[in-house]
């Protein structure tokens, strides 16, 4: 996928100026974290479950080809059709072909980050298809013409007042800023669309290799409508979604909703193993599964990056990330945000277009601490930074500063000399940190350099302590 350089600095400046956005993001993430803490606290062996989940994910990804083939065999034996797509273009043309075969024009969709990743809606709409998102949050961002700003809560950046205002404008009828009323108004509109849709497109949360089963979790019932009402169901999944056995699903269903939305279990958990059977009263006649690579396999080949594929897309790392919590998701400039977005961006979009994404972290490690599958997120970002430097994608001035600095620091007298210079500058400029430290001093004071460094003082300490 070719994209232009994402101007992170500009995005950050804009986000920081947007106070309603920041308030909405802070409140929503605080709420999610509190809810999560409550339900995680109930699970006595939470840490053991994280370790187990990490091990299962590691084992699966280490044997990915084997489990994907097993999944294909089981799903095919169950009567579902499996397609393989190397990139976004391939996956979209597979979708097009299926839709043409069924002469499908009206499509309902349930929430799926993978379809966001391949820009499915925009491409299908360009071809004249009508595509409607049916998850409330996704529906809202679709109406607003925006991207989701959070993996599990797409409209998290919008206050309820802003949502009511948007819907009032789009529906030409007054919509109150009450979440329950908003949901019921939207639900009414979506019912007709579900009943008349020709095809349903969904993502996949887990694909069980052993049984050829797709698992989809959701809270609104819209995904269940999407995958059961239309004649054809197309499910799009990354190659990383496979898990070995049905028994493993129990573990991941314990971890995912708790981490994502602070729920013990989502309102709906759909397990789909086959299209409509002879005696079934309903269900789609055809189910197509598109297994998408789109850059994921390049993570496999690097042992330091491979663990990124363990991710189950819960979004907890976004909720806890102090960077995400200040700027929200749109600042990341693409489909995945927060720490997971920072890790994926250079791999999926290229280091040339997203060289700053791995730097969008203070390396505080809150992400790794909360991750239900124990991905060492901030260390992955750190490793990606070394790749950015190795590819010479940092600025020339930064390279020079760090090289000179390393040279000064690698000799006792050079170091002593540089501390003297700093002391001198500090004396000359006094409290004028704004002048000699513009990037620091605009918003923060800077302490003066000590008159005597610890090196210089140490001898004195020895004298007073009599040694």
């Amino acid at each position: 996928m070719s994209v232009d350089l994402i101007d992170i600095q500009k995005n950050i400046r804009e986000a920081l100026r947007d106070l309603p956005l920041r308030t909405a993001v802070w409140k929503a993430t605080e709420h999610s974290l509190k809810k999560r803490e409550g339900v995680v606290g109930e699970v006595a062996n939470w840490e053991e479950l994280r370790t187990l989940a990490h091990q299962i994910r590691k084992f699966t990804i280490d044997h990915l080809a084997q489990y994907l083939q097993e999944f294909e065999r089981s799903a095919t034996a169950n009567g579902m059709k499996v397609h393989w797509a190397q990139d976004a273009n391939e996956s979209v043309s597979i979708v097009r072909t299926i839709l043409q075969q069924h002469n499908a024009k009206h499509i309902v969709k349930s929430k799926s980050m993978t379809t966001e990743e391949i820009h499915l809606n925009a491409l299908l709409e360009k071809d004249g298809y009508s595509v409607v998102e049916t998850d409330l949050g996704e529906y809202i961002v679709q109406l607003a013409g925006e991207m989701p700003s959070h993996i599990t809560a797409p409209a998290l950046h919008k206050s309820r007042e802003a949502i009511a205002e948007l819907l009032t404008k789009k529906f030409h009828e007054p919509v109150p800023s009450d979440p329950a009323l908003i949901a019921s108004i939207v639900r009414r509109r979506l019912r007709d669309l579900f009943l008349s849709a020709d095809a349903g497109i969904s993502g996949v949360n887990f694909a069980v290799a052993e049984t050829g089963t797709l698992c989809i979790v959701e809270n609104e019932g819209n995904a269940r409508f999407t995958i059961t009402l239309p004649h054809v169901h197309i499910a799009i999944m990354g190659i990383d979604k496979v898990i070995p056995r049905m028994a493993d699903l129990a573990l991941f269903l314990k971890l995912l909703p708790r981490s994502a939305t602070g729920q013990r279990m989502t309102s709906y958990v759909s397990l789909i193993s086959s299209p409509r059977q002879t005696n079934d009263p309903d269900g789609p006649e055809e189910i197509h599964i598109i297994i998408l690579d789109n850059g994921r396999s390049s993570l496999l080949s690097d042992s330091s990056l491979r663990q990124v594929l363990y991710c189950i897309r819960c979004g907890a790392c976004l909720n806890t990330c102090p960077v995400y919590r200040q700027i929200g998701g749109h600042a990341y400039g693409w489909v995945y945000q927060g720490p997971i977005g920072g890790m994926l961006a250079p791999v999926m979009l290229g280091f040339n277009t997203t060289p700053l994404h791995p730097y969008l972290s203070s390396l505080c490690g809150a992400c790794a601490e909360i991750c239900p599958v124990k991905i060492d997120i901030h260390h992955v970002l750190l490793y990606e930074r070394s790749l950015v430097v190795a590819q010479r994608r940092t600025s020339r001035i930064e390279r020079i500063i760090l090289k000179v600095w390393a040279w000064l620091m690698s000799g006792r007298w050079r170091y002593a000399f540089s501390t003297r210079i700093a002391q001198l500058l500090s004396t000359i400029f006094g409290k004028g940190a704004k002048v000699y430290l513009p990037v620091w001093g605009q918003t923060r004071d800077f302490p003066p350099a000590a008159k005597k460094t610890f090196h210089q003082l140490y001898r004195k300490v020895r004298e007073t302590s009599g040694q």
């Binding site: 940092t394 090289k403 390393a406 990037v439 004071d445 090196h455 140490y458 302590s465």
Partner: protein, 237 residues
């Protein structure tokens, strides 16, 4: 028992009193302190910015200086966690053993006091209200969470007030603070709000980087709460 002192460059140049306090606490508890004077920096700024070659150069230097130490103690969770990363760097094979020794024998001050010296009461007195900020690397790289609090609770006259979100990053992050100055400031201001709400005389932490950030914002906003390194509280009497 002998502890070799590692004084991070930030402490050396801007907060030497933190280094002096560290010496005082250790000596008060009967530890012989030595200070290898050829030391400079652990290399973290380079490492965290992706410059592994430059970081390795400084790591090699550090290992050579400290390889014979019985214990290495530093008043910084962040620098200690950097030294613990040394074995992952491309260090010459002849130094692998030394690097492993150095990274397994380095301790942050509060960790050293509580877990090695088994001391929670260091005989300090500090009759003030204090809130404790959890430095990220101390908490998440070293797993040191309770040790500083246990030490503070034994300080005579000190009243420890927990702030909300004590473990939320202050936004310093080394070169992060200058790469994204406004973002870093926004994160710091969030922290300052928690500190202000705790309504205390002092905010303490185990890392001078955090205190540089927090102190710079407190002072810019004219807030009276003072930043102070935990070593200075523990050395006061």
């Amino acid at each position: 028992m002998t502890a070799s002192l590692f004084i991070p460059c930030l402490v050396d140049l801007f907060f030497p009193e933190t280094g002096i306090a560290t010496v005082k606490v250790l000596e008060r508890l009967g530890v012989r302190v030595i200070y290898p004077s050829e030391q400079t920096c652990c290399g973290q700024p380079a490492f965290n910015t992706g410059y592994r070659r430059e970081a390795t150069r400084l790591a090699v230097r550090f290992v050579r200086i400290f390889r014979d130490a019985e214990y290495i103690v530093a008043p910084s969770g962040s620098c200690v966690s950097m030294v613990k990363m040394f074995p992952e760097l491309d260090i010459p094979a002849s130094l692998h053993e030394d690097a492993a020794h150095v990274s397994s024998h380095i301790y942050e001050l509060s960790e050293f006091l509580v877990n090695v010296l088994k001391t929670e009461d260091v005989g300090a007195a500090f009759p003030h209200t204090v809130t404790y900020h959890e430095s990220c690397h101390l908490r998440r790289e070293l797993g040191v969470i309770d040790e500083p609090r246990r030490l503070l609770k034994h300080v005579r006259g000190l009243s420890l007030v927990e702030m909300e979100n004590a473990d939320l990053c202050c936004g310093f992050g080394g070169t992060f603070a200058v790469k994204f100055p406004l973002l870093s400031t926004a994160m710091g201001e969030q922290k300052v709000r928690s500190i202000t709400a705790a309504n205390v005389e002092y905010v303490t932490a185990g890392d001078s980087g955090c205190l540089l950030q927090i102190g710079g914002l407190l002072s810019r906003h004219g807030i009276r709460t003072q930043p102070i390194h935990i070593a200075e509280i523990l050395s006061s009497d």
